[in-house]
């Protein structure tokens, strides 16, 4: 395990409660730059909750209490002076179910840049093309950019959502089970895409699919009942897990 790389995101002693139910217990983790980090674990183990703490999407849930520290490039993201809109521009999110806006494909991609003040038509055109190419969907949609994004198939919609996230030029990309609602062909397209994207972005994915975790991730974190049980290189974890519970989970004994 190489230890000299600088982490992009560092969580220390992170605890989270929904009302009185504790969802995260004392999580310590370093997310390395330009790698794919997979979060695995059975349903309700806290992996999606953890993902959402990284761009403060949990702020939207009423009754959430968070303790501990999450630093993004050295900046404490839960400190009061942090501008959440800035943070969410740096850390993009792709959701489980494709959620394009009911607008044209073009307007979907241009939404983020427009939000951050880009009005120039030529500049927007350029961003739209670059983002759609980046999400490997340009060739499929270039002739119908003015059509509604809802007219696309689920797999295409999800790639449009990835393109929409790329359009604001984030530093980190969070993906919450981004392929679980898709068919196998669309899934493999998005997995290939993730392989490409990790050359330019730091990626954190939540997945229920062990094969997917082994195929695309460099690092892997196993959560159970809100605790981070084991964290390390994916190859190592799937061949010689250190913890008995990790072994039980990845060999399919529970979950």
């Amino acid at each position: 395990m190489d230890t000299h790389e600088t982490p992009v995101i560092t969580a220390k002693g992170l605890e989270l409660w929904y009302g009185s139910a504790q969802a995260l217990r004392n999580v310590d983790i370093d997310i390395p730059e330009r790698k794919v980090t997979a979060l695995i674990g059975p349903s309700g183990c806290g992996k999606s909750t953890f993902l959402k703490t990284l761009d403060r999407m949990n702020d939207l849930v009423p009754g959430v209490t968070i303790k501990g520290s999450v630093r993004y490039r050295g900046q404490e993201i839960y400190s009061p002076e942090v501008d959440v809109t800035w943070l969410r521009k740096q850390i993009g999110m792709v959701f489980q179910k494709p959620n394009p806006f009911p607008m044209s494909i073009y307007d979907n991609i241009a939404y983020g840049p427009r939000t951050h003040g880009i009005r120039n038509k030529a500049k927007l055109d350029e961003i739209v093309e670059k983002s759609l190419r980046g999400a490997a969907i340009w060739d499929e949609v270039k002739d119908r950019l003015r059509k509604s994004a809802l007219s696309l198939s689920g797999g295409q919609q999800q790639r449009v959502c990835i393109a929409r996230a790329l359009a604001v030029e984030p530093d980190v990309l969070l993906m919450d089970e981004a392929t679980s609602a898709l068919d196998p062909i669309s899934t493999s397209k998005i997995e290939e895409l993730i392989e490409d994207l990790k050359n330019s972005y730091t990626i954190v994915i939540v997945t229920h699919n062990m094969q997917q975790a082994t195929r695309i991730s460099d690092k892997c974190a196993f959560f159970l009942l809100g605790e981070l049980i084991e964290y390390g290189d994916t190859d190592q974890m799937f061949s010689v897990p250190r913890d008995r519970r990790t072994e039980d989970y990845i060999t399919g004994r529970f979950g």
Binding site: F95, F101, A165
Partner: protein, 285 residues
């Protein structure tokens, strides 16, 4: 195995039920068509250019309802102009911003109750407050403000219902891209709920056009042309429904009543169609 045949009893049962449903639908349509047809049949021949373009003249012994048409339009647009920003704003606050769920529930219950209150109560309160306490007398502006209070719950409720149908995932997507809350509401939530807001407008227009009791109290029943908008707002003016009541019940001019009824129906149809058209346009952009 032989496919089982439908029993004769079952076939008959199906037929009778279908016939009954068909009859219900037919009766509803027939009533509507007959009513509209009868009003137009009695009313349209009496709709003359003179009726539409003049005010009543006792010297020439002619009847004209131009002032009433203008008063009605003024009441409709004046009310919408005030109630839309107020009602839509309140609905946005209640669904998107308000944190205290209990308070929201109480307000929702209150608005729901208010939509069902007989309009004459609004008229009474409007008269006591605007006409007497503020000293405005019978005037279109008192009428407009009374109608604003009366239609506000409708606009708030329909807008709220429509905001609630916007999927949470759209909000998350927008915020996830770094939008501020108001930017998210303006660019994603509101465009998605234009339909509901238009429905609220149409329902309100229906209530305004059909209103007579509350307006008789507050806007009065005069039928005199004003020289300008300001004067019109400050003076008494009977809406078409008030004129309808006056001519048919107090003056015995039944034919004029039917003519006014025809004009009312056409006016409502035109305004509702343009509201729909405007909504479709807004949704596209």
């Amino acid at each position: 195995m032989r496919p089982e045949k439908k029993s004769a009893g079952r076939v008959a049962y199906d037929r009778v039920l279908r016939a009954l449903l068909y009859f219900c639908a037919l009766l509803t349509c027939a009533l509507l068509v007959l009513l509209i047809g009868y009003i137009f049949y009695r009313g349209l021949p009496n709709v003359t250019w003179q009726l539409l373009s003049t005010q009543e003249s006792f010297r020439n012994d002619t009847i004209g309802i131009l002032p009433n048409i203008l008063s009605t339009l003024l009441l409709i647009f004046g009310t919408l102009l005030l109630v839309l920003p107020l009602g839509v704003g309140a609905a946005i606050y209640l669904t998107e911003y308000a944190r205290n769920k209990r308070v929201v529930e109480v307000i929702e219950f209150a608005t729901e109750t208010l939509t069902g209150i007989p309009s004459i109560l609004y008229g009474l309160v409007g008269m006591l407050f605007f006409c007497l306490a503020l000293g405005w007398g019978s005037s279109i502006r008192a009428g407009i403000l009374t109608l604003v209070i009366m239609t506000l719950p409708t606009i708030v409720r329909t807008t709220q219902e429509s905001l609630k149908t916007v999927p949470q995932s759209y909000r998350e997507a927008s915020l996830g891209l770094g939008s501020g809350k108001w930017h998210m509401v303006r660019t994603v939530v509101l465009p998605c709920s234009v339909d509901g807001i238009v429905t609220g407008c149409i329902l309100s227009i229906g209530r305004i056009v059909g209103e007579s009791a509350a307006l008789l109290y507050t806007a009065g029943s005069a039928g005199i042309l004003s020289r300008n908008l300001l004067q019109a707002l400050e003076s008494s003016g009977g809406s078409l429904t008030v004129a309808l009541y006056m001519y048919s019940m107090e003056r015995g001019e039944i034919e004029v009543g039917f003519a006014i009824a025809s004009i009312l129906m056409i006016l409502t149809l035109l305004i509702n169609l343009s509201a729909k058209f405007l909504g479709a346009k807004l949704k596209k952009n």
